[in-house]
Symmetry: none
Subunit: 221 residues, 4 copies
């Protein structure tokens, strides 16, 4: 798995203008290029993808890309800091709509799978390039990671208070356990060709998180 956590409290949504010089007309071109890039990165991998490919996919000239992005790495950076930020914001919102821990987790997972299903290219690039710490500010990535894990942690703590979640485990491990499984499920979906309904995996997955695969010894009795 590549990215663990993701989420941002950030209130400032339109960071876009920061690096984009052209102010007047088409701010679309920024997104045009960003989306084209993500598509190409998804197909080729960030490294193998060339600016020319991205330009062609975006329907602009090579040089145009440098009007909207500092350089190739900056495209990836914008993907993480802008595109995924929006997604992770939604995760937190989604969680807040539920009351109890189990529902919160279910909402989170459902939304997680849902957002990636909506934008498979994003999913691919995210899974693959995210922790490739080399390209983007490592600290920045760790931040998003931590935030996602923090949402889970809050849910765990609440669940323990509510009596629906065990207390005899290492929280750090459980967080990986949860995140790892979702990611693997997403990855498989991506690798096998984005065919089936990803969101449908949410409920069975949460069921597994809670009940495990074992048959309760209680029943033995």
């Amino acid at each position: 798995m590549r990215i663990h956590s993701f989420f941002l409290h950030t209130t400032a949504r339109c960071v876009i203008k920061d690096q984009a010089k052209p102010s007047r007309s088409n701010n679309d071109k920024y997104h045009q290029i960003l989306n084209a890039a993500i598509k190409v990165f998804a197909e080729q991998g960030y490294h193998k993808a060339t600016i020319s490919q991205v330009a062609k996919a975006a329907g602009v000239a090579d040089g145009t890309i440098y009007i909207y992005f500092k350089n190739k790495a900056d495209i990836l950076f914008n993907f993480f800091s802008y595109k995924t930020r929006r997604v992770f914001d939604r995760f937190k919102e989604e969680v807040e709509t539920a009351e109890h821990a189990e529902d919160k987790l279910r909402n989170l997972i459902r939304r997680h799978l849902g957002e990636f299903q909506r934008d498979p290219n994003m999913a691919v690039v995210f899974q693959r390039e995210a922790l490739q710490a080399r390209y983007i500010d490592e600290a920045y990535i760790k931040d998003i990671t931590k935030m996602y894990l923090d949402i889970i942690e809050d849910i765990l703590v609440q669940g323990q208070k509510e009596g629906s979640i065990r207390k005899d485990f290492q929280p750090g491990l459980v967080k990986r356990f949860i995140l790892g499984a979702v990611n693997e499920v997403i990855n498989t979906w991506v690798v096998t060709g984005i065919k089936y309904d990803l969101v449908a995996m949410a409920d069975p997955l949460v069921d597994l998180y809670f009940k495990g695969i074992g048959i309760k010894p209680v029943q033995v009795r």
Copy 2:
């Protein structure tokens, strides 16, 4: 998560010779280069690493590498088909030493974590480059993946027969669930700097697999 399954029944062990021209004594040079490459790939990433760096790390000339490997990609291919093959063979052996499903799974996970802990460079490259399917024959990777998942499947089926594992789940999902968690745990260990004892995570992890995080309503009764 990057690689899902890995394991090879392959009886033909010395496939190495297939593409390596040198037959005589220094078959060491093959391993010399392979290990150096893995080290460099772990540090730089496959793409960023150069043949010169690998050559220098291996203590050979650039040209020498092409005596033992077809090209740069072939080094990675050999890493997967030779180096990891040995590891995944051991997984199966390990599993066979146990009798019951739960013990088999525990052995598998323990060994999995153990092998990666023993060779962190391998772990890094594996986690990062494995499903970067672009470099290696995708089908081949899927094969290894499938084999690992097959071991798990066998364990699940056995467990269900033995009555220790539930039957009401999608086997495909459970396999990802198990594999994803291990991989995430390994990844975290890699990303945070290979500091703590990875194998110690095995038992708590298997405990989670079996019991989940929930408190069984049954016990209420």
Copy 3:
């Protein structure tokens, strides 16, 4: 040394309009851009300077520059044919205010140093780019060069008639000798940071031109 001679008899002063499309009011914009360009060229060098930098310095849009100048090289061409032309016209005028050869040379040198001191950017660009014959019509530059040398020649001839200047030398060499020294003095002033009073060098320099550094053997007698 870079530029040797410069001076223009040209009666047609407003050649400017030739290539500049805009005819109406803002002929200022032409100068605005020209001066900004000289400043930027002085700081960056002609080649390294970009049209964008010039535009920004001139407070106009990039495209606007192409309304007043054919292309980048044309800016430099205009610098030489318009801006320096005015300066070199003044040289000749200045020379004419004196009667005797020695005073004429003194006036020329004084004015030469004075004009460059007044406009250091012009000095820098002139010294650096002038004979970079590649950018501007070489013949044209040679013309300006020749005119400056011609002023000197006239002075020399007059001096010889007046009996104040030797006759036993190659005029061509003497002209370079005179021009080279002034230019070197200007260059040093430019390179060391435009700090001291350049015009103050005129009298000592002319003194050296006339008397040389040697002690006259005559005095031995």
Copy 4:
């Protein structure tokens, strides 16, 4: 004028190996490329010249240049620190073969003109690119410059002691006066097409340095 002074005490002659990776066979290739580069730079100017042009002129592939030089600027740097260094060493040697100030100056000028005549491309590049402080370490260039001026200064001081040179002038100005004239003479020779015998200018030039262009009023009497 471009470069003022040049000269190096350096005893270490073979600095070449420092940046050239290839050690074995052809150290010629270093010079092959360097000379080709100087030729191309002389024709095109450093900026306008492309690596491809240099490579073609040197009869090697583009990439080969980067085996011997860090980058384009490094070629120019090597030109100054290696190629011209040798020349300026000779200047000092030449000066030392004479006893009296006037002979020393004559030797210096003769040699200066001679070396540039021998290698016109070097002359062109030197004159044009030398003080283009932008490309090469400014301090370094200032050093060479200062050394040349220092040779002149030593000669001046000696001449004053010997009674052959006046004492009533600013040494700084005289140094520019001498250097400027030589350079202008070289420049003219370069610009007019490298046709006539440059060295033949040495004696008349030194004559002008010493006697100036004036007719000494003393003799009137």
